[in-house]
């Protein structure tokens, strides 16, 4: 945009942007602060913002009650595993939809997306009994497979959009250069789509990480991820906000850190320039 902005306009825009950012970030900030409060301070009215007795007792309490590391490892295994498997299926699928479309391709994409509109509870019984009979309850393979299936439509859809922007000429050049379909996808398409694949991956990791409905219902101990851990802190003895906050902070910390570091990766566009 070549619009000229005066300094005052830019300052106003910045202030608004910061306010909006703060508004969006506030719940997380509040949770972070609460996790360092005593339960009494957490309930205090008017709320105490910064001047309270800072304590790490809640974190110690979380650690003593549950095995944080095991839950965290489960979360990582589930979201990364589901994601890698999903990409392996989705890249060829998106390739064929983007570069060898048929009359039905658009319908197929819509149908895939429509499966996301069905509430999970609708198929819960069916899946639960399938898993029960198949001895897949509380297993990483079973839940990981389910998370992959759930996110597959979104992964395919996103990759399809990114692939559409890659000039077909370049893939055709690879074909003329003697590349097999497999080599075309591995050596030409995938490296060119790295920014797209990275952001797809991040989104799908986050979605799997946040998944609670299925993990709460299908796992118990062995395959329970962090979402289960948070849930375990909520009900039994009433709500302990400070403790719950500490558990939540621990649960979102890994994903927040990954997101923070991959920001630049996502924005950097290293693809285009060879085609005028």
């Amino acid at each position: 945009m070549a619009l000229k902005q005066s300094t005052s306009q830019r300052v106003t825009m910045s202030v608004i942007a910061w306010l909006v950012a703060l508004l969006i970030f506030f719940p997380i900030l509040w949770m972070f602060l609460t996790s360092f409060k005593t339960e009494a301070d957490a309930y205090a009215i008017p709320p105490k913002f910064l001047f309270f007795h800072w304590t790490t007792d809640n974190y110690a309490e979380v650690q003593s009650r549950v095995d944080y590391v095991r839950h965290a490892i489960n979360s990582i295994v589930l979201s990364v595993g589901a994601n890698v498997a999903g990409l392996l299926l989705a890249i060829p699928a998106a390739w064929s939809m983007a570069f060898a479309p048929t009359k039905r391709t658009k319908d197929l994409l819509m149908w895939m997306l429509s499966t996301k509109m069905m509430p999970g509870a609708g198929v819960f019984m069916a899946i639960y009994f399938l898993y029960l009979r198949g001895h897949l309850l509380d297993s990483l393979w079973g839940v990981g497979f389910l998370l992959m299936i759930i996110n597959l439509p979104i992964i395919v859809w996103m990759l399809y959009t990114y692939f559409k922007e890659i000039p077909v000429d370049i893939l055709e050049a690879a074909r003329m250069d003697g590349a097999s379909l497999r080599n075309e996808i591995i050596y030409v398409l995938t490296p060119m789509a790295v920014p797209g694949i990275a952001s797809t991956m991040l989104l799908s990791v986050i979605l799997s990480w946040n998944e609670a409905f299925w993990t709460l219902n299908l796992t118990n101990v062995n395959a329970a991820p962090l979402t289960n851990m948070i849930a375990s802190f909520s009900s039994p003895e009433g709500d302990f906000w400070a403790l719950l906050s500490a558990a939540s902070v621990l649960a979102i910390a890994p994903i927040l850190i990954i997101g923070w570091f991959s920001q630049r990766q996502l924005v950097r566009g290293l693809t285009f320039g060879a085609v005028k």
Binding site: P167, I170, A173, M176, D177, G178, N183, T271, A274, K276
Partner: protein, 333 residues
Amino acid sequence: MGSIELKNVRKDFGAISVINDVSFKVDDGEFTVFVGPSGCGKSTLLRLIAGLEDISSGQILIDGKDVSNVGPAQRGLSMVFQSYALYPHMTVRNNIAFALKMAKQPKKVIDEKVKKAAAILNLTDYLERRPRQLSGGQRQRVAIGRAIVREPAAFLFDEPLSNLDAALRVQMRLEIGDLHQNLKTTMIYVTHDQVEAMTMADKIVVLNKGAVAQIGSPLELYNKPNGLFVARFIGSPTMNIISGAPAAKRNAASIGIRPEHVEFSTTAGEWPCKVRLSEHLGADTFVYVEGAATGPLTVRLEGEAPVEPGQAVYVTPKENRLHRFDKDGRSLA
């Protein structure tokens, strides 16, 4: 070796026929140009030969072997794309080496061949750069380099110069010409620019609406077009086409005379005309005149011709250079 033969090739997209019963042969080592207006099917024809599109019926033979159902990778052809289509994530070296790597050639051989190709194309200093760090002409050379290392049976060029500016286009035209002289490999070149076609080709295939209008050497097409379409398409400025009385007098539905094949006089001649405009190019002058019997005509005069708009002049066609056409636009003997 690299002769390419098309037998009754058709290509339909749904109900639309894009290539309609095309047959011809490109001999080994020949520089053949497909030329025609946009939408005539010339790029599609090239893509059919490349194998990037499947033919609907007919046969394509390379060195006498039917490759109609063979994939692009196995046809042994190289293609240079209009958009260059370089791999943006690879260096120039890897771009050129890609085909050799796909063919699993030993590393030493690859290095050798890339070095040789880079030397031919003046790319030696740019081997470690990426495509986006190169100028248009350099990118074009990389695309050509990628094509030559494969030592293909034939090169296919799809309007390779249309993204370059005029000066560079002339230079690259010469370089491609030189390349053909040196390699003596079959080349098929697609362009909509009849000047490129005339200057580069051994043989021109003029296409119109998905069918071959005429095949011949540049001068054959210039001197003996088989109909109105080729007559108009080949030659610049365009041939003057005249119907009515002057044509009837010569027993034709219409007649054609090239701007360079007329006598021009200010005193006497067959067709009295009025000058509308003249363009001075230095070596030539194009005079646009309006004749009562003939309608608008273009005349090409050598050197500088002092004519004024509105001036009365006379144009007389050279009879032995006149082309006669019947009512369907076919040439009359």
